[in-house]
Amino acid sequence: MGYTVTDMTKDDIITLPHPSLRTKSQRVGVISDEILQIVEGMKTATLDWEASREHEVGVALAAVQVDKLYRIVVVRNNCEDKNDHEFTVLINPEITKSEGKLVEDFEGCLSVKDIYGKVPRHEKVRVKALDVKGKPFRITAEGFLARVFQHEIDHTNGIVFIDRIKDSPEAFFRLDKDGKLEELNYAEDVQANSLLW
């Protein structure tokens, strides 16, 4: 027996300035027990993180965020229902086509503490990936789900959402403990924040 099952927790999630987050992940060749173990750990870590937050939902995670440099993404099946703990697993996901106009909306990242950004993303994307049995499948996603895929597939390429808005002074926000969403001071809180860049 190769691996012991130990569920990952929110403490296994790495945050900036961890260098792995800006590193490109490798493709998964064989879906081994190790890979399946990572997939399960990604799910438990996301749910554990969410349990510690009052008004936030953990909607997806890339393997790099638990410091495993593989192209693996897990996405919550129902982002509107915290009680639905099912995920869709995408191995070696790729965007095959981006369509529609660019839409700005808020997104946050479990690996970027306390910051929300207004990030432009395509309205619609087509994604291809393998499932946990290695079978290829395709998804066409629109709206919020399209945003989620673009955010996560960026992770597999070493891109964090703030990299997409780094020149937009009005795109950075912070959600404080009372649920208030405040615009950040771009020069002080963003540009001069050495943790981020």
Binding site: E50, V57, A60, F161, D178, K180
Partner: protein, 317 residues
């Protein structure tokens, strides 16, 4: 990736009818559905009940869940504060103040109003009472996108409720709030994503009701019995239905109307059947049989108990 819960401001206290209490079913559902309620905006933090001032039920929920409770004189007084919350929408249930367009426009998905009538019927402040007063066979609940003109915004959805003519105001208020909570649970996600279409009302068919006054609470025996029976249900709690029987001021709390009159007495005259405890009052059309009543300063009692206690006084008048 993570996302924030949808940010919602709640307007109102959910007292959708005069003189009723509320369990705040709509707000509780929104909290349960994990919306981030950034603030609750109410007309007053207290209610003036019959002779006593009490804290609103909703104030307790605000405290329990750590939600900011605001009671501005005018909604425009908190415009900047509302903008700072960056809310996606507001939900409004019995706010009791006019909300100007400049405030509605703060919310990208608008203000969703839970209105307890089948709009365009019974626009105005007393939809529930007026459905009872009009003897409607059905009423219901409308989810409306708040517009500048009172209760005239486009409607997302309606649920119809059948009435059998015995509903009390409190019971109807509870039922309609429960329906409103269920409808928001189903539809609010789609409304916020702009996937639910609101259809304009047929303004030609609109009816308006004006406020109830304290004066409405004095029973006018020259009205038909059937009408008075409805008033007693519609005015329960406030302003209530008062009259004088045998020189004694009473509040009638439950009654039923029959079309016949068994005596030649003028409206206001009594028809008492002591042995079976029936207490009737002659009206312009038919007899109103009082089932339950409350002498001022006493407990509520049945007609039979009232006759046993005060029968002698009634006979002498």
């Amino acid at each position: 990736m993570q996302k924030m819960s949808k940010r919602i401001v709640f307007f109102g206290n959910e007292r959708i009818a005069t003189g009723t209490t509320t369990n705040n079913l709509v707000l509780r559902q929104l909290i349960e559905d994990d919306y981030d309620i950034t603030a609750i905006v109410v007309n007053n933090e207290q209610v003036n009940g019959n002779h006593k001032v009490r804290k609103l039920e909703i104030a307790d929920i605000a405290e329990e869940h750590g939600i900011l409770l605001l009671s501005p004189d005018k909604p425009v007084d908190i415009a900047n504060q509302l903008r700072d919350f960056r809310p996606e929408a507001a939900v409004l249930v019995a706010y009791g103040k006019i909300v100007p367009k400049s405030i509605i426009d703060i919310f990208p998905a608008g203000i969703i109003n839970v209105h307890p009538s089948l709009l365009p019927k019974h626009r105005g402040p007393i939809p529930l009472e007026s459905a009872i007063l009009a003897g409607e066979q059905q009423t219901g609940l409308s989810l409306m996108s708040l517009a500048k003109e009172m209760d005239a915004g486009p409607v997302y959805a309606q649920t119809i409720v059948s009435l059998n003519g015995t509903e009390t105001k409190q019971q109807l208020a509870n039922d309609l709030l429960e329906i409103g909570a269920a409808m928001l649970h189903e539809l609010l996600p789609g409304i916020l994503e702009d996937n639910v279409v609101a259809l304009p009302q047929d303004h030609q068919a609109a009816t308006y009701d004006s406020r109830i006054t304290k004066q409405d609470g004095i029973i006018d025996w020259s009205k038909p019995a059937k009408q008075l029976e409805r008033e007693i249900r519609a005015y329960a709690g406030w302003p209530r239905s008062r009259t004088t029987l045998g020189g004694l001021e009473v509040i009638v709390t439950q009654s039923h109307a029959v079309p016949s009159q068994t005596t030649d007495a003028a409206p206001g005259g009594l028809d008492i059947v002591s042995d079976i405890g029936h207490l009737g009052v002659i009206t312009a059309r038919g007899t109103l049989w009082i089932d339950r009543l409350q002498p001022v300063g006493k407990k509520e009692m049945t007609a039979a108990e009232f006759i046993r206690g005060y029968g002698q006084r009634l006979m002498n008048t």
